[in-house]
Symmetry: C2
Subunit: 349 residues, 2 copies
């Protein structure tokens, strides 16, 4: 551990260099008009003492830390295993970096740590937060709200209960699901099944709603619950084939689910797409390209979602700093930015 | 104001009350859903132990934020793609969480962002930092030092220039390399080649040194530079076979490198281990188990390295809070904790 005497002050640097405080201040702030010999002495003293210009003083003027927290309502191990989150984070990181803001990722082991995250957010260490809160019964949004920091959510929150000022970025899950079904009916398919995601997540619930919009007559026999994993897709596909051996198409709630469904269809001797056409959701690479056959799917721009979350938050903070209270982050009702989805056609449908 | 007795932890309260950490956390944070009898037991344990759940009250006593930064000297995209880093982070996360400290991961797009990381560290938002600084010419260690926060490094820093108080956690890279070579000579191999890692990283330099300790007579023809990737391993293996067709063993600087070397050996018709025995380094799963044949390798306990880094930092902070200046944080010279490595024997050697 590198120790540290108390942090050196501007005064200490001035004393070491034998110059005035004002001179030190001019040099460390990059101002002109200091003789080179003097400036050199100051720089040497800064170097020798390890002086760091005072962030707190700067913050007094700007009231900003130039730091934004990212919080995921999932344990650290799942955050790091999830390519979806990594892509959103990529977009966030690029956008924050472009505006010289520090990305502060707050990791946890589980829900029992969320109170601590709330305390950190409330502690004045960041200007705002980007929160991924996927589950309906999640305590995190409440904790973030009590922390009082401007926040943008990733994904439509499940608690559309009229509370103030909720801003989120989402994909058009419902519209994307409708596009998947339209594509399958356009191929002449009539017995179309759906494998859902975990329905305590709005993305899964919205995709199911989109499926139902166009298949209101689909009996419960054609809908089977999955969990966004390939194992869940395998299990659900077996159920569906046992129940409805004559099905001729499957819309899977995400690409991993579709990959599992494809394995079971092959195992049961069904040709894809001839006997059964399959459409996924996400266009998660390399998964969607490496299935056999390659997967037709609904693409969402995951990185762009992250970028947009960061952009909305920074804009809101800028407006607030300039005294404009009619900003996005003080919206009177839940307000979402919903990105379009597109059908990517490969071989499976 | 300094604290002399160790502060009671959430764990101590949980143990006293005979409940889980999660239950204590819910009670002290005023959440619902805990049976009243249980809640009462928790409150009594809190009272008896004098547990202080309130962050602000705690900060007054300890001057602590109960937050630790983790900084990697790599861009966000590489951090998230690197299973090695994910494993270290897992150990760090578990250890910090067990002590109710928040893990604050500071991500960047590249070196030009390191000054901003230095500002955040200097801004009083964390109690200390865990820094992964892998490259010899990295400006990050200097920035961290000037930020004035107690720091533990992951991996032996390359700048062993006598500066004070540097503490690091590393694996025994040199000893592990010697164990690999000893295993190969024990199998009767005499023409042993080495594919190195990028030699601006101390882990790669130390493994090369270990190889040379026992193969001082190995001509330069038997040493080829790689870069810790499988593509680098392929390229280096081709070079070695062209130069020394009679080689009978390869020690690869990590498992990915070994995986690339194995592909080239098969492509050139060499049987492993009959014609050429191969040993890797890391025991990175699933890579080491999925090569053909499965890889004999030198295992390092990556998660434990992370756990130990966090533990050393927290202990140093505790000692400092209790006024003990003879702690690791005032070590007079670079001091490392070096974890042992072990040979894991599979089929390749």
């Amino acid at each position: 551990m590198t120790e540290t005497a108390p942090r050196p002050t501007l005064e200490a640097v001035a004393e070491r260099a034998g110059v005035s405080r004002a001179t030190v201040s001019r040099v460390v702030n990059g101002a002109h008009g200091v003789r080179e010999a003097l400036a050199e002495r100051v720089r040497r003293a800064v170097e020798e003492l390890g002086y760091v210009p005072n962030q707190a003083a700067r913050s007094l003027v700007t009231k900003r830390h130039d730091a934004v927290a990212v919080v995921a309502a999932e344990p650290e191990s799942r955050v790091f295993a999830d390519p979806f989150f990594a892509q959103q984070l990529r977009g966030i990181s690029k956008e924050l970096t472009a505006h010289d803001n520090q990305l502060v990722l707050l990791l946890t082991e589980g829900r029992e740590d969320h109170a601590r995250v709330g305390r950190y957010l409330a502690g004045g260490h960041v200007d705002g937060a980007l929160v991924f809160s996927l589950h309906l019964d999640d305590p995190l949004p409440g904790l973030v709200r009590r922390a009082g920091v401007p926040t943008v959510f990733g994904g439509r929150p499940g608690w559309d209960d009229g509370r103030d000022g909720v801003v989120y970025v989402d994909s058009d899950n419902r519209g994307g699901a409708r596009a998947a079904v339209r594509h399958l009916t356009g191929l002449g398919r009539t017995r179309i099944a759906h494998i859902t995601g975990p329905l305590d997540q709005t993305s899964a619930a919205d995709r199911l709603a989109g499926f139902r919009d166009l298949r209101a007559d689909a009996g419960p026999g054609l809908i089977e619950r999955g969990d966004f994993t390939s194992g869940g897709g395998e299990r659900a596909m077996r159920e569906l084939l046992d129940r409805c051996p004559g099905l001729d198409a499957v819309f899977a709630a995400n690409d991993l689910t579709a990959a599992g469904a494809l394995r079971v269809l092959r195992e049961r001797g069904r040709r894809v797409p001839d006997d059964v056409a399959v459409v996924g959701f996400d266009d998660m690479l390399p998964v969607a390209e490496q299935t056999d056959p390659p997967l037709t799917t609904i693409r969402q721009d995951i990185e762009e979602m992250g970028r947009l979350m960061a952009r909305l938050l920074l804009r809101g903070l800028d407006r607030r700093a300039s005294g404009d209270e009619t900003s996005a982050i003080a919206a009177p009702a839940p307000s979402g930015v919903v990105l379009p989805t597109t059908l990517v056609r490969r071989a499976s449908a």
